[in-house]
């Protein structure tokens, strides 16, 4: 950082973004080769929060791996909980009670709202606006209050269990969730007026960082990044799981592929999440929240299993290999942002530094999830 | 004898300080190996020159000196250094041994000659003033007596803008 070492070609120089840099949302390092303010070549360097999740998967029992899933993507921890319990339940053939599935969907969607709110704030922070972050946090606190009242934690939820949930919810939660949705509905127009319609933001995001659908496919990008490029794909609908088929929601798709499109997808997704939660609250059946026949010590039959869920950032895939013992033989976590970030190098070529950082912000990175 | 503690005395002191700043800045400017430092010296020297202009009853020119030299010329030069920095280590030791004494000799000779000329000449006393050199008068002469020159200067500046654009652009497209 302190040396003005220039690269071989005198016209360009290397700018080392990170590992500690406000724009990288944690500890990502991006080696930028710059020509003035233009990015000639960008190479993300990962691994600064590599926390050995996959290795730990091989060292712990199936149940003990649960807290790790919450720490992969700490912003959308419940989606990851869900992905993990889903694949194990699938392998074991455990039937989950309906109430538990509904509650899973409700909490996951609330968590997704919290995640998107935080992204909204952090993204605008990347663009230099500080206040929207605090407004988003204000709303986020309300979601977290709700989730804390059922799960006991604010961030790294460890709530789902094989065959059900850690515990049931009460009426306060249902009422609180409804009240929160009402509140957020009131607040969203302010968000749009303050940020979405702001000419400065539009100027910065429109036609900036355009990703084509083909490029997203080649890099395996998923989630809002893919949907911002006009591809109508959402695991919740294309590969239905849990009780999503019974709920009516739309998958927001924008065809422009620019940063604005990705922004809009996420903002629309917040609204869809609210719809899902509302419907699920209406349909919430009575009953137990834990399946009756869950063996005390889990030993999934040998073989490998794959399962995917739609996390806030895209498709979270998990491949487990069981050798029939009580610990996984191999646990592969396919994190969405890993693939989403991998296209940054190509996509940012020729962009201005602020635009490249806007693109990076619009990918919604959670670094520990990339590094695992 | 002027006492130090009167307005005039203080002004004299300030004058001495300004002269020191001017000369000191100029010396830093020409003697520095590092170009950014040389630029700082130049800027300091120009601030001093602006002070001298102020003492010469011309605050307007003094302010213009600051505006144009410090604010524009120096900044432009710093930009050029940033764009075309040869690096310090490259230049150290590349100065020829004979260069310095010869340069010093020539400079000193010129100074000696000019200063002698200036001091020894019997300058005619100031004639009756036709104006007091205020901003208003300057403006007036600019658009009357020196109107043609004024236009020419604007032409020169226009040419300079176009010329530098052409030059800079030519280099740019090549890379």
């Amino acid at each position: 950082m302190n040396d003005l070492a220039r690269s071989q070609n005198q016209e360009t120089f290397v700018l080392n973004l990170g590992p500690q840099h406000p724009a990288t949302h944690g500890v990502l390092r991006v080696k930028l080769t710059m020509d003035g303010e233009y990015v000639v070549h960008a190479e993300p360097v990962l691994g600064y929060v590599h926390r050995m999740h996959e290795k730990m998967g091989e060292n712990r029992t199936w149940a003990q791996f649960m807290p790790n899933t919450a720490r992969l993507d700490y912003l959308g921890a419940l989606s990851y909980n869900h992905g993990y319990v889903k694949v194990v339940e699938q392998a074991m053939g455990i039937e989950v009670p309906e109430r538990a599935e509904y509650l899973r969907v409700i909490t996951v969607e609330l968590n997704r709202i919290a995640s998107h709110l935080l992204w909204y704030g952090a993204f605008v922070l990347d663009l230099g606006g500080f206040t929207p972050l605090l407004y988003a946090f204000d709303d986020r606190e309300h979601v977290l209050d709700l989730l804390e009242s059922v799960t006991g934690s604010r961030l790294t939820f460890c709530y789902f269990r094989f065959g059900g949930l850690y515990n049931d919810v009460d009426d306060n939660f249902v009422g609180g969730a409804r009240a929160f949705i009402k509140r957020l509905r009131r607040r969203l127009p302010d968000y749009h007026n303050l940020v979405t319609k702001n000419i400065i933001l539009i100027k910065r995001l429109k036609d900036v960082g355009v990703l084509s659908a083909e490029m997203c496919r080649k890099y395996g990008a998923t989630g809002p990044v893919l949907r911002g490029s006009g591809v109508d794909y959402d695991v919740r609908r294309n590969e239905p799981y849990s009780v999503y088929p019974e709920l009516d929601f739309e998958v927001p798709v924008y065809g422009e592929g620019d940063s604005m499109a990705r922004y809009m997808v996420r903002m629309d997704e917040i609204e869809q999440c609210m719809r899902i939660v509302e419907q699920a609250l209406d349909k919430l059946p009575e009953g137990p929240v834990v399946a009756e026949k869950v063996p005390k010590i889990l030993k999934p039959p040998p073989g490998d299993y794959y399962s995917a869920v739609e996390a806030a950032r895209g498709t979270f895939g998990i491949r487990i290999v069981s050798d029939g013992t009580n610990t996984p033989y191999r646990m592969k976590l396919r994190s969405p942002t890993f693939s989403n970030l991998s296209l940054f190098g190509e996509a940012s070529r020729g962009m201005l530094l602020p635009d490249a950082l806007a693109l990076m912000g619009s990918l919604d990175l959670v670094i520990p999830e990339i590094d695992r | 004898m002027i006492s130090l503690f009167t307005a005039e005395g203080l002004a004299g002191l300030v004058f001495l300080f300004i002269v020191a700043v001017t000369i000191g800045g100029a010396l830093i400017a020409v003697n520095s190996i590092r170009l950014p430092r040389a630029i700082t010296g130049l800027a300091i020297s120009f601030v001093g020159v602006a002070g001298l202009y102020y003492f010469l009853n011309s605050p307007f020119v003094a302010v213009m000196e600051m505006l144009i030299y410090v604010g524009a010329v120096c900044v432009t030069i710093v930009f050029a250094i940033m764009l075309a920095d040869p690096g310090d280590e490259q230049r150290v030791g590349r100065r020829s041994a004979i260069g310095a004494p010869v340069a010093f000799g020539v400079g000193a000779l010129l100074f000696w000659g000019l200063a002698l000329l200036g001091i020894n000449t019997m300058w005619p006393a100031a004639a009756a003033r036709v104006s007091d050199g205020s901003v208003k008068d300057i403006g007036h002469s600019l658009v009357t007596t020196y109107g043609m020159v004024f236009e020419l200067i604007s032409l020169v500046l226009l040419l300079a803008i176009i010329g530098s654009l052409v030059l800079a652009r030519a280099g740019r497209s090549k890379s």
């Binding site: 500890v27 060292n59 700490y74 935080l118 604010r154 520990p368 | -």
Partner: protein
């Protein structure tokens, strides 16, 4: 730490020292520096609900040169450790470190036999002044940590203690 070296430089003068300590304690500028999960709680602490600004500690400076306290919020991996160390070294004296969260205290849940990737605690790299356990700690705990640090700097506590009920 950090204080001692400075005191030797300035003539020892008790009231002045006290004043300096008061000034420092009430103007703890943290670094914009988050490693993992705890960083989100750190942001939440600065946000409207908890408002770190009340103690003058919301001025998150992105440059280590302008920081007083480094809140190590998250897991320090072995790859990251040299960078964290550099950041610490780049901070001017007097400086303090808060280890926020179990990962920064001892490696937290990521410690297991045969682990190859993380540093087991920030205090392995540099002295830590305040530890805040939790995974992640609640924002109140971070505020409490800042207050603890103020207590450590000035020698007495200005704010009431809150007992958990």
């Amino acid at each position: 730490m950090g204080k001692e070296s400075l005191q030797s430089a300035i003539i020892r003068f008790a009231p002045l020292d006290k004043l300096l300590d008061l000034g420092r304690a009430n103007s703890l500028w943290p670094m914009t520096f988050g490693l993992a999960c705890c960083a989100i709680e750190m942001m939440a602490t600065g946000a409207a609900r908890f408002d770190l600004a009340r103690f003058g500690a919301e001025v998150f400076r992105p440059s280590p040169r302008q920081c007083d306290v480094m809140i190590v919020a998250g897991t320090i991996s072995k790859k990251m450790a040299p960078a964290v160390q550099t950041l610490y070294d780049q901070m001017p004296e007097p400086k303090w470190v808060i280890a926020m969260g179990n990962c920064a205290i001892s490696g937290g849940p990521f410690v297991f036999e045969g682990q190859y990737g993380i540093v087991e605690g920030a205090d392995k790299l540099f002295p830590v002044d305040v530890f805040i356990p939790g995974c992640p700690p609640r924002p109140e705990a971070l505020i409490e940590g800042i207050l603890e640090l103020e207590e450590k700097v000035t020698g007495h506590r200005r704010w009431p203690r809150v007992e958990a009920v």
